[in-house]
Amino acid sequence: MNEEIVEYSPNDFKSDQEVRWCPGCGDHAVLAAIIRALAELKIPKEKFAFISGIGCSSRFPYYLSTYGFHGIHGRASAIATGVKIANHDLNVWQITGDGDAMAIGGNHFIHAVRRNIDINIILFNNQIYGLTKGQYSPTSFRGAITKTSPFGTVEEPFSVGELVIGAKGKFFARTIDSNVHLSTEVYKQAALHEGTSVVEVLQNCVIFNDGVHKELTDRETRDETTIVLKQGEPMIFGKNGDKGLKLDGLKLKVVKLGNGITEKDILVHDCEENNPGMHTMLANMRYPGYPVALGVIRCVSAPTYDMSVESQIAKIQKISKIKNVADLLKSGSTWEAK
């Protein structure tokens, strides 16, 4: 066996497959950021397993040169869970869409989160079903006009972060497809976190939901409409860095710096706080009214399912008299026929 080579360039993670997303689709940028993150993680390539469901985004594994499993619609969390439990040495990623993870796959998703399986879930949220050509999804805003809601939807969308935290989630981050720099950073942190990491990527579907995140990505508006949270730093945003978040009773409030309000009055981001109240509020901020939070919103350490399984096995193996199947077959009450 050769020495481990763990110096990679992003291109080492590209497969030879033709990338089949629409020109201009946000997925291309996500791919670019992920291969960067993978290269920077310095983990042997064969340790990566990318599991996906079905959807435009779920084609992802084909475009990587790692191990990949393109599953069935909605079941990626379950498949990824099995992969990780079977071999906790692997670095397991789940690629999924808002339909894949929040509609048909909602149950597996919340259960993976609850169990805190050590996988990294990258959820491409374009607020639409891309692959099936434009039906609304559980994250489409109320009133969205789509192929299956010609007069507008009549239902409240999920807030990804709120659902994740409601399901006992320990890691939640948000990024935007076009911000490759921030995304790379966030993906790396998700990978390094032990436990289920959920990253919501706001992704643009140029064909069926073009511009749904426009306010958050446009050069002119994005500094006002988003805030990038950084651990230990005050929650300041705005083109001129002149706005911040403050607590007002149990609610958040946007304040302007100056006029007596200084950085000291501004909340400091602590993604490691166990109590989820603040993180839920941050994850729920919507423009207008609030800036949309980007970056790692929550990152709390807790025992992972997979490692707990390993240690339970180790413990029992130490004390049990049954060491192999032959021991088992002969255990308990038996008799000899002569």
Partner: protein, 613 residues
């Protein structure tokens, strides 16, 4: 009469313990069975209980039964009719009076035959009269009173006292069969090691029952069933679910792989998940999933990651797994899907047995989606077929559906413990590290098996998935490629036939009738054929454990017989499958859809009718 004169030597005998769900009849039956097994009898058990945890007391719906068939020679069924029925209340009589052998014994707790209980059981007034039970030898004992009397000095609360009633009845039965109390007393000691007062109470009552039976001279005759003359070796009793679980453990060890089970609890399959969850000492990764779909999908993930992966369920759960079985077919990953069949359709009769999921196992998926289908046929051979199912899945890179049923799952019998050395090797087509090109769907030209490259193996990175693919794993909509791949997947399954042993008949290679069965009806069909042959009928048996592919010599075996009769616990599924496979042949059928096993009587009667048609 002296005691010895009253002893009747019997080849075999059937005992049925029956009472309210809370009366402890399952335990009583198990203890009697284990005692008999230790004594050296062959036996087979059949627990039969309602779907409610504690169905309403005193009603027929709430009766919980445990039947055991004990024999000197080999025993294959739990018996059609009971020689001895223990009936703790009138409802137990009502539920079972049809199933007592002429001249049989009924032991009843007369304290429970109050007017209220009699009405509750659905009798007008007197069970004995209404069901004409005077044909039987009725031993009416005031069990409740006697138990209270026995324990009056121990200062126990009344509930605890009453709970020992089953031990009194068990004591009586032990006397009736001249059995030792030792095994039961040992059991009580280890079970209640922390509650000596419970041990004492139960033992006392057990002995009281034994001595009571000895005392009342009415209690005749005593049955003697000598030890079976069985093959030398180490034995234990085992039920189907345990045997299945252990078969997978053995297969994983032989293959040198970790064992993963991803399942969602469902009656009567839960026992497998429970048994394997207890085997952390053997490194089992048991995963209780959030539903059946997650059960199979986690298993598929584990299979992708290199484990022997299984998922276990019953009918409705198999329905839910349908889509993911398709993914297993498409990705050609090894996996065993166990379906412990129960009464259907829908939620149906959850605690009852049936064989009505065969078509679902064969065809319950979208597209052309063949898998290997197998079926165990006795509680103990669940071990063998679990092992074989795993071996086929792993060596042929193919999903295998293994069918069991409620009758096998809960039934138990003595089992000669195999040595691990006697089991075949299992060699999955694993790919080592390397830098040459790995082509995921490249096939062995003879077997059509693809190779298995497990994540973590350097240089073998590749992608698989549920879309149609070329040999290289590239998604492809090319018409000819699709047709080719569909045919390859089917042919790969067909070639598993090399692992399928030839079909053996019990009886002759030709004759007037071949009785054909599959799965859990084996014991009943075998016994029926034996008895028919004793009566001079030219009947043989062909019983199937391999359903897809069928044994290579099936047509040949069939061709030796005048009449081909397929007997199954459904409306006719295997027969329809055989009709598809053997266009040239004509089949007749025997069916039962009652949530119960066949009785040999039914089978024999119908065979005779068909023979004489």
């Amino acid at each position: 009469m002296s005691k010895s004169e009253r002893v009747i030597e019997r080849e075999e005998v059937v005992i049925r313990f029956s009472g309210d769900s809370g009366d402890g009849m399952q335990l009583t039956g198990t203890l009697f069975s284990n005692t008999s097994a230790l004594f050296g009898n062959d036996l087979l058990t059949f627990p039969d209980y309602p779907a409610e945890i504690r169905a309403p007391q005193g009603t027929v719906g709430g009766v919980s039964g445990f039947q055991v068939h004990v024999g000197q020679s080999e025993v294959y069924t739990p018996g059609d009719f009971a020689d001895v029925l223990v009936a703790m209340n009138p409802a137990a009589v009502k539920a079972n009076s049809k199933y007592i052998r002429d001249g049989g014994v009924i032991i009843i707790d007369e304290d429970n035959f109050t007017e209220k209980n009699i009405k509750k059981a659905g009798y007008e007034k007197d069970p004995i009269e209404e069901d004409r039970l005077d044909r039987y030898n009725i031993i009416s004992a005031p069990i409740t009173t006697l138990v209270r009397e026995t324990l009056k000095d121990l200062g126990l609360d009344p509930k605890t006292v009453i709970r020992t009633k089953n031990m009194f009845a068990l004591g009586m039965v032990y006397f009736l069969f001249g059995r030792d109390l030792e095994y039961t007393e040992e059991y009580l000691k280890s079970k209640f090691s922390k509650r000596p007062e419970i041990i004492e109470a139960n033992s006392k009552v057990l002995r009281a029952g034994y001595h009571y039976a000895e005392t009342i001279e009415a209690m005749t005759p005593i049955y003697k069933v000598s030890p079976a003359s069985i093959e030398k070796g180490l034995y234990r009793t085992i039920d189907g679910n345990t045997a299945l679980s252990w078969g997978f453990l053995a297969a994983a060890e032989k293959a040198g792989l970790g064992l993963f089970i991803g399942s969602y609890p469902i009656t009567p399959a839960s026992g497998i998940l429970e048994t394997l969850a207890a085997r952390k000492d053997l490194g089992v990764k048991s995963f209780q999933a959030e539903d059946e779909i997650a059960g199979i999908c986690t298993a598929l993930g584990a299979s992708f990651a290199g484990n022997l992966a299984i998922t276990t369920t019953s009918g409705p759960g198999l329905a839910l797994k349908s889509e993911a079985i398709g993914l297993a077919v498409m990705t050609e990953l090894p996996i065993v899907i166990v379906n412990v069949q129960r009464g259907g359709p829908s939620t149906g009769l959850p605690t009852k047995t049936e064989q009505a999921d065969l078509m679902q196992a064969l065809y319950g998926r979208n597209g052309e989606c063949p898998v290997v289908v197998m079926a165990a046929s006795t509680p103990s051979n669940c071990f063998k077929y679990a092992f074989e199912a795993a071996r086929i899945a792993l060596e042929h890179m193919v999903p295998v559906i293994l069918l069991s049923d409620g009758f096998l799952a809960n039934g138990s019998e003595p089992w000669k413990i195999p040595s691990m050395d006697s089991l075949p090797e299992i060699k999955p087509p694993l790919v080592k590290e390397g830098d040459d090109v790995f082509i995921p769907y490249e096939r062995d030209p003879k077997t059509l098996i693809r190779r298995w490259a497990i994540p973590g193996t350097r240089g073998r990175e590749h992608r698989i998935g549920g879309l149609e693919k070329t040999v290289k794993g590239t998604v492809s909509y090319i018409p000819e490629n699709h047709e080719y791949m569909v045919k390859m997947r089917a042919e790969k399954v067909a070639r598993v036939v090399t692992k399928v042993p030839d079909l053996q008949t019990y009886g002759d290679n030709e004759g007037d009738m071949l009785l054909i069965g599959w799965g859990g009806t084996y014991g009943h069909l075998l016994t029926s054929v034996r008895e028919l042959r004793k009566e001079g009928r030219k009947v043989s048996l062909a019983h199937f454990n391999y359903i897809n592919p069928l044994p290579a010599n099936t047509a040949e075996v069939f061709s030796g017989f005048e009449k081909l009769v397929v007997a199954e616990l459904n409306a006719g599924q295997f027969i329809r499958y055989l009709r598809m496979e053997f266009e040239e042949l004509k089949f007749k059928q025997i069916n039962k859809i009652q949530g119960l096993p066949f009785t040999c009587k039914e089978i024999k009667e119908q065979c005779v009718k068909l023979l004489e048609e």
